[in-house]
Amino acid sequence: MPFIPHTEQDIQAMLASIGAKNIDALFDEIPAVLRSGKLTAIGDGLNEMQVTRLMQERAAQDVQPLNFIGAGAYEHHIPAAVWEIATRGEYYTAYTPYQAEASQGTLQTLYEYQTMIASLTGMDASNASLYDGASALAEAILMAVRAHKTSRRVLLPATVSPLYRSVARSIVKLQNIELVEIPFDIATGTTDLNALQQHVGSDIAALVIPQPNFFGALEDVDTLADWAHAQGALAIALVNPLTLALLKAPGQWGSPSPQSSPASGRGSEREVGQAGILSQDKNSQNQFSIPGADIAIGDGQPLGAPLSSGGPYFGFMCCKQALVRQMPGRIIGRTVDLDGKPGFTLTLQAREQHIRRAKATSNICSNQGLMVTAATIHMALLGSDGLRRTAAVSHANTQALAVQASGVPGVKRLFSAPHFHEVVLHLPGSSAKVLQSMAGQGIAGGFDLKPHYPQLGNAILVCATETKTNEDLQRYVAALRHALH
């Protein structure tokens, strides 16, 4: 019996103790009419050797092209130690750390994660993860509406991933929240500030600001954050955490005028938080006086999660101190034990469903703890220097690819704004057919934008991370040239 240790002798002794004549008698409270027969769709069990053979055959069917697709999931090198350690049984098979004394390993790891991701985003606080970047966007919208109290309208630029916008709609529409799309400037590939101006003075809970945006283009985040705050709306930063090794952190977005931030004006908690925590850090004086984004979210996949056909990844969420009690998901705090020794525990649980039930900030229970464990180890192994290099090389490779691909007759870069590690290429022929031809040459040539942005014509979104060599880039260009021939 796979994974069941009972001997026949055990079974008889246990039944005798219970006073049941056989195992079936243990189900005698279930109405007989409901009892099911044999399962038909499953077949006989396989032993480990057989199931290994099956899965190896299935994996062999998944032939891997040379990948130049990003669009929300990025191929990066993951140090061998990351998953060696993350899949140690003590991490892998532990439950949610409700029994803090027996979970200090997981709890301290999550506290270290919160510190790292809050530092990358330049925010005051972080939770211990949400499901993925798209559902984190939905949770951020719900959180912003709770915090704003009066408005249920959120501005969602078309430069946010269409996949993310679709998820956000699925989740928030049931609570009568209105998502308003903001068009983009067709020349720059960034949010159209003139279009945004039409919403001045209207009822807005939050503006979502993607950086880099879905096109890989860099938005004018300072202007957008200031604009949101001037409307009395929250600024939600949707960011790629790897790029924050180089890019301005959401906590530093906007100009230094704290009174314009709705979060800074609410309650005394922010002041307490800053006096109690930030004032001890001389480096954070700048952060203190700059409003910055109110909530920062995104997908943590670039920090150690394999592509895996789309998951598991993890969503991260950081916020200003004043908003901590509006945040969904588990949060780890440091405290002391009976002897005054430092230790870690789940905190602010009164926000959560197992305590607050119908009044909870979210229904989330399970998060993506193991992925966060991996991300923490990943960040510790790379450090700030390693992340900066990875980000910079990814940027440079994409830049080089864009230059080389633009040398193919008829191919041109579509947008003028500076990009990070993705660019949009406009093709002189059907984007679907070109990608199909490149796939036939063993290259995943990019993400076809046409179904989502028909106004762009035959446009594809291309990404070359640090995993790509010069030869890889040359192969790409040759395949593109061949496809267009």
Partner: protein, 515 residues
Amino acid sequence: MLIFERSHPGRRNAAQAPHHAAAAGGPSTGLRTGIPAALLRQDRPQLPEASEMDAVRHYTRLSQKNFSIDTHFYPLGSCTMKYNPRACNTLAMLPNFLARHPLAPEATGQGVLACLYDLQEILKDVSGMAGVSLMPMAGAQGEFAGIAMIRAYHDARGDKGRSEIIVPDAAHGTNPATAVMCGYTVKEIPTDANGDVDLDALRAATGPQTAGLMLTNPSTLGVFEKQIQAIQKIIHDAGGLLYYDGANLNAILGKVKPGDMGFDVIHMNLHKTFSTPHGGGGPGAGAVGVAQRLLPFLPLPVVEKFPSPPAGEGAQRAGEGASGEAVSYRYLTEQDLPQSIGHLSAFSGNIGILLRAYVYARMLGAEGMHRVAEFATLNANYLMAELHKAGFTVAFPQRRASHEFIVSMKPLKDATGISAMDVAKRLLDKGYHPPTTYFPTLVPECLLIEPTETESKKTLDAFVAAMKEIRDEAHATPELVKGAPHTMPVRRLDDVKAARELDLTWKPTANTRTA
């Protein structure tokens, strides 16, 4: 000590840093970019400066501060902490599975899609449902999907007046929280003395405003809801739908199908019943199954099998069906399911977890599925009988336990002042992860105990012996129990301080405060 405190300024892990841009003309350091300065950060993020060995030692040692299934008996009620077969992890992490981009052509993912399709079919069979979507990323998201489908169903029929979801008071907190996220109000109904739903209260609560009922069966009290047929009739007669919370599916796997009980929609916690890892809090997987009338509303994407290989692009190697004919798999989209409640994740859910569940299901086979419920139930009833005989107070001694049961420590507390929490903490010293404490709240000083099918009689006997020792200690040396645990990396933590003086991130200058 935190990883930041192990940092050494200037220390780098050169093996993990890319050297330079591969591209001609790329910057030699890889650090100069053409990005305008105004968009760049001026400071450096506060990340550890550690060698590879520093980091490996630090996290290996941290892991050793955890209790886990691999190291300890973990009878945490409602959480199904059974053995997670290692093969599931190894095979889900085969390199080709890990390397595949979610937006790569489906022709290059026929292997993974075949696994997902097969898993859908397996879950349809065990749940007795007409269709399954694997996409929800955890039980709570499965609940969201389920209730959103109920709402979509009523809306599609123009049945707009249904504003309430009924939830028994013993339900998990996710149930009422989910109903609210889906725009419903929650009506709570009481439980009777036998641990069943109070039918009179249910009748009174049900009406034209009822959108549906969320029910966990067996319930969180560890008993099978015997009146399920009557409950089903009350809800359906009122035009409501029946939601099955699959948290306790392990208790009835292969024995009773929720579809046969009359449920319209179900979520299944694959990290419980299908033994995928809990990972210190996740990732989970909360697949949903639906009856015929909810099929059009399933969350996207769903995997479908087609008789011919996919056209054109990429590798052409489609799989073969059982009789040798060529088959191919693809995701259904909005075009196929225009009434779908939509996408709940950017891509396709927690696929790596789904692959683990698939391997587990294939290893068990049909017979193994039946055995899961049988031995989970045998272990629970045996442990309940032994604790009962040892003089512990079982909440529902007149009932069969399902896969879990409740013991109340109230008599012990009345006699000695030792609470369920004290007992739980003392169990840690004895080498056991404690059962779930203080849930469900209906039973005072409760321990919800779920041994699972993968534990041996010997382990259960040793657990009973530990419980008896603790009871003896509660009478003889109560301070020993009240002060527990004594052998963990830390003693009991100050939760009030944690919440009042929030310390959620490490600060360089703050590390001396508590050290």
